[in-house]
Symmetry: C2
Subunit: 546 residues, 2 copies
């Protein structure tokens, strides 16, 4: 951390995660009840202080969640319901939405209210006085029912820049009514860090209740704005996992929390080991939200510690801190050495050593030939950035070590549908040392049907491979710039044997062919790697490939 700051920071900052509430506003995102419960449990495991889970009264799904979540117990986190101030001209006890908030039976509630005169006048269409009373009355009402209150001042920064006195009066109304956290929200997300720092400093002069920050990312500064707010004296940060949220999203928990803990030396998670779950949590939320993970995401992305340019790789292995701002393991991520057309042979050598225990000479001509083939395939639309196993199969072939235990000779699929639904039947013919094997499979879709057929055939030929190897991810992308039904399809499949994971890839204009090839490669890689491991344990040192 910057030595100049040592000592000037709070020892601890509270994290309120609002993935399930504000995050659910993200374009293209919608969580099932089960997904919301799973995410809440993972957030508690990480060690956040608050989980803002929904707005009772805004939709039945959220009310259902608050009923269901009572069955679960949490170690670190408080479940928080979210609501707006009472409607204008309605007494809190008569406001049906606030009644639903009480039904949610949470110990904490976030109340959001207006602090920008523009919004009070143009959107709420009421007087500045009525708005102050809506804030005061709503917070008071909840306090009288024994509920602890976090007050979110919507559009606070815009409001403060236009009319600081009124914006501060809104905060004071919430404080007088008993709010225990005062959160300054950049709802339009347009603020820059220097302004956030100055404004939080100035607010701190007037408001002694702990201040929080709720930042959106429209200027690309949500993470920086949150950290600068903490540097200015805030003690509570509101974030979402992966920064999912409306428009450009919110401050990303996966970037704010490591920034606080690893760079500013401020404790943010109740679980000291929590940070190590960060990448897993990030992946879980992408999956349940149905979003593709962002490989360039700081700290937790696939590429966050990926070293591509060949020149670096050797040096990185010798002196990590010369190239990595934090230890990848600290956030549950890992260093990746990527096979790629820009890289020298160093990467492939490193992979062969790490994955297969093969010691290769960088100048080995067979290595060069393998890299040439990798490049040629990349020009055809392949990408080996994730599919290292497929690249290693090419290397093994060039090394004369690819003794394929089986080959797919032919396959056939029939798929048909009507109003009654769809069905598929697949047939696969394998060539093996012991002769050809024919097997059939059935499934909803054509790929599922050939997958079943392949497993059927392998069960007869290599039963252990079918028992040991499980498929854990199947991805389909259309790599071309122009996409249509005749496009080439890139399939990536990730497998596991329970102890390690590997990924294969294949490209074809026929999704069944590409999938079958990637499936077969995955099994073949498992078998060849096991063979090499056995021969290593027999031989005193790694085998010198013939």
């Amino acid at each position: 951390m910057d030595p100049v700051l040592a000592g000037s920071l709070p020892e601890k900052v509270e994290v309120l995660d609002t993935t399930l509430r504000d995050g659910a506003q993200a374009h293209g995102v919608s969580f099932s009840l089960q997904a919301k419960i799973r995410i809440a449990l993972e957030l508690d495991r990480l060690g956040v202080s608050f989980i803002e889970a929904g707005w009772p009264g805004s939709n039945p799904k959220d009310e259902e969640f608050f009923r269901a979540i009572k069955e679960y117990s949490f170690n670190h986190a408080e479940i928080v319901a979210f609501t707006s101030t009472r409607r204008k001209g309605v007494r809190p006890e008569k406001d049906p939405i606030l009644a639903k908030v009480l039904d949610a039976e949470t110990r904490w509630v976030t109340v959001f209210g207006k602090s920008w005169t523009l919004h009070v006048r143009e959107v709420l269409k009421t007087t500045l006085e009525e708005n102050l009373d809506m804030v005061y009355g709503t917070v008071r009402f909840l306090r009288e029912h024994g509920i602890r209150v976090i007050f979110d001042a919507e559009h606070f920064f815009n409001g403060y820049l236009e009319d600081p006195e009124y914006a501060l009066q809104v905060l004071e109304a919430a404080v007088e009514a008993g709010a225990e956290r005062i959160v300054l929200a950049d709802t339009n997300g347009g603020m820059l860090p220097h302004t956030v720092y100055r404004v939080v400093r100035e607010v701190r002069e007037r408001i002694k209740t702990p201040l929080g920050l709720h930042m959106h990312n429209d200027s690309g500064c949500a993470v920086a704005n949150t950290l600068m707010g903490v540097l200015a004296g805030a003690e509570h940060v509101q974030v979402t996992v992966n920064g999912i949220g409306e428009r450009t999203g919110n401050a990303d928990l996966c970037q704010v929390v490591p920034g606080l803990e690893l760079k500013l030396g401020v404790r943010a998670l109740a679980n000291p080991e929590g940070l190590r779950h960060l990448r897993r949590l990030s992946r879980l939320v992408y999956e349940l939200a149905g979003l593709q993970p962002n490989p360039y995401q700081p700290y937790v992305g696939d590429n966050a510690f990926a070293h591509k340019a060949g020149v670096h790789v050797d040096a990185v292995l010798k002196t990590p801190r010369a190239y990595e701002h934090v230890d990848p393991g600290a956030v549950g991520n890992r260093r990746r050495l990527v096979v790629s057309e820009l890289s020298g042979s160093a990467n492939l050598v490193a992979w062969a050593r790490r994955e297969l225990g093969l010691e290769l000479d960088k100048r080995d001509p067979r290595l060069r030939r393998a890299l040439e083939r990798v490049k040629k395939l990349e020009n055809m639309g392949y990408s080996f950035d994730n599919a290292v196993a497929s690249a290693l199969l090419i290397l093994l072939e060039e090394l004369g070590l690819r003794k394929t235990p089986f080959r797919v000779q032919a396959w056939r699929v029939v798929s048909e549908g009507s109003e009654k639904g769809a069905r598929s039947w697949g047939l696969v013919k394998l060539e093996t040392p012991g002769g050809t094997i024919l097997a059939a499979g059935e499934g909803g879709g054509p790929v599922h049907a050939v997958d079943e057929a392949l497993r059927g055939a392998l069960r007869q030929h290599l039963p252990e491979s079918v028992e040991k190897v499980r498929l854990i991810d199947y991805r389909v992308t259309l790599p071309g710039a122009v996409r249509h039904t005749a496009s080439t399809v890139r399939v990536e499949i990730t497998f596991t044997d329970g102890t390690s994971a590997w990924t294969t890839t294949s490209v074809s204009s026929n999704i069944i062919e590409a999938s079958l090839d990637a499936l077969a490669q995955g099994i073949e890689y498992y078998l060849l790697r096991s063979q090499l491991a056995r021969s290593r344990s027999e031989a005193p040192e790694a085998p010198r490939p013939a």
Copy 2:
């Protein structure tokens, strides 16, 4: 902008774009020669000051570029070659890489050198004195050949925090040798904004040559760090389009430049209209890099001005500045209203008016029923955020206006493959007012085959629909949390008739079924929309749906 700063900023900041050099280091990115030329021309049109285009001597592709680019003339930008300092123990005039740099014949060259003692000792494995001489000698050598020099101090911030005196001596060596820009690089990308601000301030005390910034995004603060550096006195910023670059990428031109021009009031582009090309440039680079655009990207992303939550939409239309931090048009983007389960009926009403010219009452029960169906489908894995046409078809059905001109009664596909490749044959049976139609089609993949069959059938029944409607995008995603070959597939297809575009979606465990359904919807939507347009032009006003 923050009034407190008025006056304290430079009037103009130089932009150096390094998309073609540092950006090409991005994981999974590689530009063809033609792509590099096209991007350079677009950057000049935008009005950047410098285009850092490659490293002569690092690879033949880059040398080819510098030869080819001489054929083009630029209005605003200088083409810049990039190189490292001379190799240790070699005189500049004897260094083959520097010879190649002279061959590139650019008027400006960026020289990068070490300023972190750790790198000098551990990576370069030389003395601090030799490194100073490598910096001085290299810059001097280029100046003697009449080349103007930008000096990039690699890892400057890490170096300064560990050994400020040496880091500053490196900068002074470059200045004495004649460098005209001194760029402070956060090569590991781990810095936070407050430290960048402090360090730039301190360096400014010693170095009077214009300072620049080169920030990577590993802490998620590249944009903020760049802006804070300008606030501290830097006058030159190095960025890449969409922030593409190694690991988590570089500071994003598409976020830094609008931040400077729209928020800090600093001129950054020579072309006053340049900013309006921003989204187009962003799209071009994604396309040529073969990357999917990031819909959540600030300023230029599809969702940057997308308003989802129903409560907002009305207000946004009335008072944009209450919800949008800048005018979408200023960066060549536009506002988007999207259909979604969280939204009230306002969005669907707005779409029905905009797309179909239907005037609906928000309280219309048929509208409610349509939204209910949309919600139910979203719980099944559908997403209508992009597929507005599919949502409108549901609305038309509830309005009694969905007079379907055909229905897919049944389909069948046979697909087979062997070493010789794969082939598919499809058959589609359509039910139409004029009786059933049967047609067949052939293709590489199964989806292509049924697509051909459907077009064959429609050609007999509704020839104009097949002529007019073209498919411009076909996307396949596996929305489920766990993905395997039996996963549910979500298909999205975008169509155009040359004047407008629309998107449909369908979900199934069978990719053929989902694709066929989305294709049929696309044609149906086109036909129904044309009918409504015709009836409007006949009727004096929009038809009141029965």
